[in-house]
């Protein structure tokens, strides 16, 4: 069997290059936008994902972690009474107003009050114990290093937060929040910053003896009933609620779907135009084959095989492009989140682009009428 499709692709690669590039860029756009959106959602749930502990208790109906309200202190006791619970820790949430250097004016920030103990749960994955211990100093704060320009200070310098002087004792990574700056302090400092506000914490975080039983324990711990004053979730559930909230309430999810459609459409238009042009350029050769007895189906297979190879080349190119772009984003502390299902979805869409383009190009084969060769 003569490998017509492959030989033509190799020999006339210039002709097919635009199609492969269109596929590669479509794949890259799809994956990068997905990674960015996942990255943003991950940063919306950073309080959960950067913490240890499997159980979160918070205000009933809280849709997103950043919308928490104070809950009664007896929740802590209630959680501790369950034999499965090994440790409970409050998480204080205070809205703040930052004033660093005069030039930057005021910045609205989220203040997270956490337990500075070495065994503390909240932000345990983001803040190493030595740095965490420094929060014991009154007025000590920690921020993500990427937020420093917004705050206008360096480590060791001070700024005014809710009218109180605070000191930056260190920076770390993985603390970036959506729509504001995360400032981490001790519970005591947070209480001082929240003077006049509700001093009760917004969440209690619990660590279980057996993390695998989180679902069952959360169901046991949830007070149920319409009049409950707090609710209990597993960490992934609260994180998913937060992601869901951002996805649908903000319109970001629709944006992703819409952008994907646009990319799909543009990719398909360019790829199919290129393939159609290639078919049209060889139409009398195809017609000759048809005259000599090759069926239209056999010719369609050649075109579809070409589309397939264009897709494979584009997929490889798109993979490399995406890796480069995402590496760049990562190095610039732009939050990106890549998941295997995300990659699989993008690859499927990309192959969908090429197959649809192939089918459109196959329609051009209808012009391969051998009678036209006789004139």
């Amino acid at each position: 069997m003569v490998a017509l499709a492959r030989k033509t692709l190799v020999y006339e690669w210039r002709r097919y290059l635009p199609a492969s590039l269109a596929v590669a860029f479509s794949g890259m756009l799809l994956l990068v936008q997905l990674a960015l959106v996942f990255g943003i959602f991950d940063s919306a749930a950073v309080y959960i994902n950067a913490s240890r502990g499997q159980i979160w208790a918070g205000y009933p109906g809280t849709q997103s972690i950043d919308l928490g309200r104070s809950i009664p202190r007896d929740a802590e006791v209630h959680l501790l009474m369950n034999p499965q619970v090994a440790q409970v820790e409050p998480f204080q949430w205070v809205n703040g107003d930052w004033r660093g250097s005069r030039a930057l004016g005021s910045v609205s920030v989220f203040v997270s009050g956490i337990d500075p103990a070495a065994t503390g749960l909240v932000f345990a994955r983001a803040i190493p114990p030595a740095l965490r211990a420094r929060l014991n100093e009154p007025g000590a704060i920690i921020v993500d290093r990427a937020d420093l320009p917004k705050l206008g200070i360096a480590v060791g310098q001070s700024g005014i937060l809710n009218g109180q002087r605070v000191y930056l004792v260190g920076t770390t990574g993985g603390l970036r929040a959506l729509g504001g700056v995360n400032i981490v302090t001790s519970l005591a400092t947070a209480e001082r910053l929240n003077a006049g506000g509700d001093l009760r914490p917004a969440y209690y975080v619990a660590r279980l003896r057996d993390p695998a039983r989180a679902e069952a324990v959360a169901a046991q711990l949830d007070p149920h009933g319409r009049l409950r004053r707090y609710a209990v979730w597993t960490a992934p559930t609260l994180a998913a609620r937060t992601v869901h909230y951002w996805l649908f309430e903000t319109g970001a999810g629709l944006g992703v779907v819409f952008m994907s459609l646009v990319v799909f459409l543009v990719g398909t238009v360019i790829t199919s135009q290129t393939l159609m042009g290639a078919v049209a350029g060889s139409i009398s050769e195809y017609a000759t084959l048809n005259a000599l007895g090759a069926s239209h189906r056999a010719l369609s297979r050649v075109v579809m095989e070409q589309a397939g190879w264009v897709g494979v080349a584009g997929l490889a190119g798109g993979g490399i492009l995406s890796a480069l772009v995402l590496a760049l984003a990562h190095s610039q502390d732009v939050p990106v989140g890549i998941t295997l299902p995300g990659i699989a979805a993008c690859a499927t869409l990309v192959m969908g682009i090429t197959m649809l383009s192939g089918m459109l190009a196959v329609r051009t084969l209808r012009n391969a009428d051998p009678a036209r060769l006789l004139r």
Partner: protein, 241 residues
Amino acid sequence: MSESIAIRARDIGKGFTVGKVTTRVIEGLHVDVLAGELTLLSGPSGCGKSTLLAILSGLERPDAGSVMALGEPVWALDRRALQRFRLHHIGFVFQGFNLFPALDAVEQVELPLSYLDLGAAETRRRAEAALDEVGLAHRRHMRPAELSGGEKQRVAIARALAKRPQLLFADEPTSALDSISGQTVIDILHRAARAHGTMVLCASHDPRLIAHADRVLRMEDGRVLTDEHHPHPPIGLDVSR
């Protein structure tokens, strides 16, 4: 030499409608074309030579009449049967060579053979033999871009001959070639008719070819006006130079 009738066409009529005007191109045409002969269809431009070729070869459906090719009623076959008939029995040589730029000469010839499911070895053997027959064995690994016009046409002829068709149709096979290449091409077609008993029907208004044909059908206004047999047309013997 066989005197059997390869194609018998009766009462062929064909018109083309462009806009509101219908032009009758072929009108009540009868013709028998014999196997083992090179039959030349000549006549002025626009007289319907190509159209007749398309009708006889199963590419263009006539408005009226019947075509029996190798005993099969061509225009009574359905699309797939007609395609199979072409695959197994008909070869074409067109004015444009229509070779795939990416394939070398052997692959050009192998490509249509591959639809016959002969197996790789037999396909290759036949392709090489066909290239040898047209005197291009030494060019077998060259692509169209590296071949002259005459060589390209010979590859196209090898492609048509490799599947050993009983019917070979050629439309202006020499008109894009210089006279020596044209001479070579017509000799190859002629010898194919003699050697394999193939019916070769060649449409051309090239007067140089008339002397080389076994039979000349002169067409005018959609009819065959004259039908001349040449008992012993000359055949050039050396094509491989």
